[in-house]
């Protein structure tokens, strides 16, 4: 059991280190220049119909986008751009 905890901890820290490393690598220009509208169209539709920006208020979109950031594994940058677009377009 103790060995399992140690192994799992090492694996967990390794994953964090690897992901942090990759997230700090230079993202391509295509990915970095995507607008909030484009990210909204590309990511939401992977699971469900694209939600209309008018669905929620600004405050509600803050919560909904954070929820979807966790569930859809969006990056921090993607979530911020999508939230800003939805709050501008609602």
């Amino acid at each position: 059991m103790k060995k399992l905890v140690i192994v799992n901890s090492i694996v967990a820290f390794s994953i964090i280190a690897i992901i942090t490393f990759f997230s700090n690598c230079a993202t391509s220009n295509i990915a970095a220049n995507k607008s909030g509208a484009q990210l909204w169209g590309e990511n939401c539709v992977r699971c469900h119909n694209t939600p209309s920006p008018e669905t929620f208020s600004d405050v509600e979109w803050d919560v909904a986008v954070m929820h979807m950031r966790v569930r859809a594994n969006l990056t921090d940058n993607e979530a911020k751009k999508i939230a800003e677009f939805l709050k501008t377009a609602n």
């Binding site: 799992n8 994953i15 964090i16 990759f22 992977r46 919560v63 954070m66 966790v70 990056t75 940058n77």
Partner: protein, 411 residues
């Protein structure tokens, strides 16, 4: 004399002019003072309103979904109450989120309450989130992403999921998850440690001996299950995702002959969503292949009444898969036709030969949907299930044909 009169007249005019100017100026100043006072009052009102409506960092959102419908099978025709699933989402701060889902279902004339998940998520870094509590497991894509009634494109689940299925749904534990770019491509990941499923040893339910139960029991052997999923989105528009999932751990109860029995589960999944401009449509393809391997063990043979204590064993391997496609002419100008969607799904379930729950089933589901808006749908599904089920759930055989009409709404 005349000159004096004229001069006197001019002086009078000037005096009157001065008086008028003075009077006008004083009134103007007074009016300006009034106006300034009114502006100040209005400013104070606006400021006080801003303080009332200015959002704080803590925010709450109630969402969820519901569905119900009509089901016509070979044996019966009945309206079904479906379910009501409220989802509570609370954003404590820019870093901390709480979410929970309940399920209220009408079954056997009673309201059954299900506790789907409740967990907190903390955004550790830009690409790493830590999640703790009861959570939907990212094993494949169906349970984690596709099961809500307003997202599922058909009126029932594919074989292998839910009642009579072999796939995990939720468990209690701790998880790291997130996503990151690799140039134009993306990856997403999840790694978790959970209590894990429990092996049914057959003591209480001999007909289910050897099955894994994913009912969120407390850990029965101090041996946690580890698992994870890695998803890869190779295209710059994120339209294609391929995922690999795995879980491993001991499932037998400690201090029993099954304490060393372990299980390994794996899944490969695919998702492809793409606009087809030449057809004015959006194509949505999803697929998942899953396998469950449980170490071989001996189970009490309750059907051998001549030899008390006799045991039997079998190769405890199960597989299930589904492939689904949906197409919707969402780019058409005609409002009616662009809300129509055609969906089809084929699934199979194979459980161990030699077990008392030996099952070989295949299923076709053909559907026509009409979307009232982006989260409200009417689903017409025709389902054909063929094969053999060794263990009927509640005495109902899954084999046969069915027509299902459901409405589903997300809110």
């Amino acid at each position: 004399m005349m000159f004096k009169k004229i001069l006197k007249k001019d002086r009078m005019k000037k005096l009157i002019l001065i008086i008028v100017i003075f009077w006008a100026t004083s009134n103007l100043l007074s009016a300006q003072e009034d106006l300034k006072q009114q502006v100040d009052e209005l400013t104070n009102i606006v400021d006080s309103l801003e303080n009332i409506t200015k959002p704080g960092k803590s925010k709450f959102l109630l969402r969820g979904y519901g569905h119900a419908g009509l089901e016509i099978t070979d044996d019966q025709s009945t309206f079904v109450g479906g379910s009501f699933n409220p989802i509570f989402i609370y954003k404590q701060s820019d870093k901390l989120l709480f979410e929970s889902e309940l399920e209220f279902v009408l079954e056997n004339r009673q309201v059954e309450v299900g506790f789907e998940y409740a967990n907190i998520s903390y955004l550790l870094t830009k690409s790493v989130t830590i999640r703790l509590g009861k959570m939907l497991l990212p094993f494949g894509i169906y349970v984690d992403r596709m099961h809500p009634a307003w997202i599922n494109k058909l009126s029932s689940n594919p074989l292998g999921v839910g009642h009579g299925g072999i796939l995990p749904s939720s468990d209690i534990g701790i998880e790291l998850r997130g996503g990151a770019y690799l140039g134009n491509s993306k990856i997403n990941y999840s790694a978790y440690v959970i209590n894990g499923p429990r092996l049914n040893e057959g003591d209480d339910e001999p007909e289910e001996a050897g099955q894994l139960h994913f009912d969120n029991f407390p850990d029965n052997n101090n041996n946690k299950m580890i698992g994870g999923r890695l998803g890869f989105l190779p295209l710059s528009n994120s339209s294609l995702e391929i995922g690999f999932s795995g879980m491993y751990g001991k499932v037998g109860a400690r201090d029993t002959e099954y304490s060393d029995v372990a299980a390994s589960l794996y899944a490969i999944d695919l998702s492809f969503v793409q606009s087809l401009n030449f057809m004015s449509s959006v194509l949505d393809v999803k697929a998942q292949y899953s396998g469950v391997n449980v170490d071989q063990a001996n189970y009490l043979d309750t059907e051998d009444t001549l030899n008390t204590g006799a045991t039997y064993t079998f190769d405890n391997t199960s597989t299930t898969y589904f492939i689904q496609a949906a197409i919707r002419p969402a780019l058409l100008n005609n409002k009616f036709f662009r809300n129509l969607e055609f969906a089809a799904r084929y699934s199979e379930l194979n459980t161990p030969e030699g077990s008392l729950w030996d099952t070989k089933l295949n299923q076709w589901e053909l559907g026509l949907n009409y979307w009232l808006d982006w989260r409200t749908v009417f689903k017409f599904t025709y389902r054909i299930t063929q094969g053999e089920a060794g263990h009927d759930e509640g005495g109902e055989s899954p084999v046969g044909n069915a027509f299902l009409f459901h409405w589903a709404i997300g809110f």
